[in-house]
């Protein structure tokens, strides 16, 4: 029997919504099915109340859990060591992560520690005999590259957010009880000391239901106020494309995209944004995209549900008015 496919999630990582865990389990199940292996789920850190139900819905054959006080504060050295020990005692065909801020560093470090192949930005995996063909986004999403990783494994893949739609199995089974596993982290000394912890001020773009974003088409930093005002009237948050952050118009916590926030709002309204793939990576999961751009051929219209060809500095004040009138009615 082929070694199992292991989906690894880390409960200390706050920005890992259930949808993403289920997306990874969905892809994991497809791969395990195609190579005749079992699907296992490794939970690192405190156990999760929703865990058993989700495991049942995705045909997980075995749930393993690793916990240790050193894993609770979310620092990487302990996590990497725990995973390396796990892989040494539990051979696997594939170790699959959701890609997020933490795993962007941890996944390649685990691969480095084990001396095995790693692919980030994964969007799909196909099984071809002994080889896994991993599709990954490149050039910010302008292209896809297919990477071949020869078996027997293991190999490490991080799945890009929003790349796979979560799909539970038809026949939901009973979830297996989690097996508690021991790891020895006594030798791990975190080599990076936190002097000042990050603290979010207020709500996060990642959690926003409505986002109004501005791009270079706004023309001047003052016009960003229009973005903030419209966001406010709609009960949402303001976002931005990278040039605005690079120019210092707005704080980097507002940057949407490949090297910014990956968002999934119900409404994403983009004003004066061209629609470069590096930006779209951060908002293409929005249920509805509305674009305002002076250029009828702007790429953003290919992604938008509703489009307005026009000057956003003229349209935004009117939208603020129209939206507040709707709010008053």
């Amino acid at each position: 029997m082929t070694d199992p496919v292991v989906v690894c999630t880390w409960s200390a990582v706050r920005d890992q919504p259930w949808e993403e865990t289920e997306a990874a389990l969905t892809l994991g199940r497809t791969v395990s099915g195609a190579c005749g292996a079992e699907l296992h789920w490794l939970v690192v850190g405190p156990s999760l109340d929703e865990g058993p139900e989700i495991a049942g819905r995705h045909g997980v054959a075995r749930v393993d859990r690793i916990d240790d006080p050193k894993l609770e504060d979310g620092r990487p050295d302990a996590f990497v060591e725990a995973l390396a020990q796990y892989c040494a005692s539990h051979p696997c065909r594939l170790l699959l992560f959701n890609q997020n801020f933490a795993t962007r560093l941890v996944a390649p470090r685990v691969a480095g520690r084990l001396g095995v192949g790693v692919v980030m930005n994964g969007t799909d995996i196909e099984v071809d005999g002994d080889r896994l063909d991993v599709t990954a986004a490149a050039y910010g999403g302008d292209t896809r590259v297919v990477y071949g990783l020869e078996g027997p494994g293991p190999c490490v893949v991080a799945l890009l957010a929003n790349a796979v739609a979560p799909e539970p199995t038809e026949d939901a089974g009973t979830a297996p009880a989690a097996t508690e596993l021991e790891v020895d982290l006594s030798g791990v000394e975190e080599r990076i000391r936190v002097l000042e912890a990050a603290h979010t001020e207020g709500p996060r773009l990642e959690d926003a239901e409505i986002i109004v974003s501005g791009g270079r088409g706004l023309g001047s930093p003052e016009n960003f106020k229009l973005i903030e005002e419209l966001a406010d009237v709609l009960g949402g948050m303001a976002g931005a494309s990278r040039p605005l952050v690079d120019e210092g118009w707005i704080d980097s916590s507002r940057q949407v995209g490949l090297t910014g926030k990956i968002t999934r709002p119900a409404l994403y309204l983009a004003a004066g944004i061209s629609g470069a793939t590096q930006h779209m990576v951060g908002c293409s999961a929005a249920k509805t995209i509305v674009a305002i751009n002076t250029d009828p051929d702007a790429a953003i219209f290919r992604h938008a549900r509703y489009g307005i060809v026009g000057d956003c500095t003229e349209l935004l004040p009117e939208l603020i008015r129209a939206a507040s009138e709707a709010g008053d009615s």
């Binding site: 050039y139 020869e150 690079d246 003229e314 129209a322 939206a323 009615s329």
Partner: protein
Amino acid sequence: MRIVVCIKEVLDPDAVNAYALAGRLEIGDDDKTLTQTTIPRLMNGFDEQAIEAALRMRDAGTDATICVVSVGSDLTVPLRHAMALGADEVVAIEPPSSTGDYHTVAALLAAYIRSHGGADLVLCGRQASDDDQGVVPALIGESLGMPVVAIARDVEAAGSAEAPAVRVTRVTPDGDEIVEATCPAVVTISNELGEPRYPTMPMKMAARRVKPTDVSATDLSLDPQALEPRVVMTRQFVPTVKGDCEFISGDEPADVADRLVRRLLEDNIVRGRSPR
């Protein structure tokens, strides 16, 4: 303090974007490379910022030598640029074959650092704008047993001359985090660091005469197994985006705005009552 900055030469991402935005990005008959041969090659933007981070440390008074290293072929242009910016030494490592992968690149860089004077600080870009993988710095860190501080907007020298350390401001999803790592360490630089400087004309002129130090894989006496690729690119393609945009127009911006808001209300995307 010896700072090694790892740089990669990539296709100009703005030019690649321009082709993609115009729907004209194409892959050649080999199923792997972009057909647009006119796209210029340049230093990965984050790597230019990594050099900038090193220069700022030196400007701030840190006694630092800056060595810029790259794995690839035909690297004179980006390495001269590094020299003009103020690097003390530039090094080109010729890969043993074109089939190498990130592991091969990381193995070569780690071997170079190990055998050529070590490093107190290894600076990398957060990711290369062509492959976007962001794995090479992590692999270097693992190979050299150094901690990896990822996604920095600021790096400062800390500690003492005998026990150097770095204080790094990281850009996290929850805001900035300030950490300290004992050297040697790997730090990856993100765009929040800000604009890199331009070389001055005299520096550019002087750099023209510089030849990079060439190092080959054999000079690094690496175990051939360490250079075996683990990940092989088999294909590249351009994904298609299906568009179904409905354009909303009107005589005046006010009409257009009213129409759009009505549409969003009908679709239940925004609520009719004031949310606050």
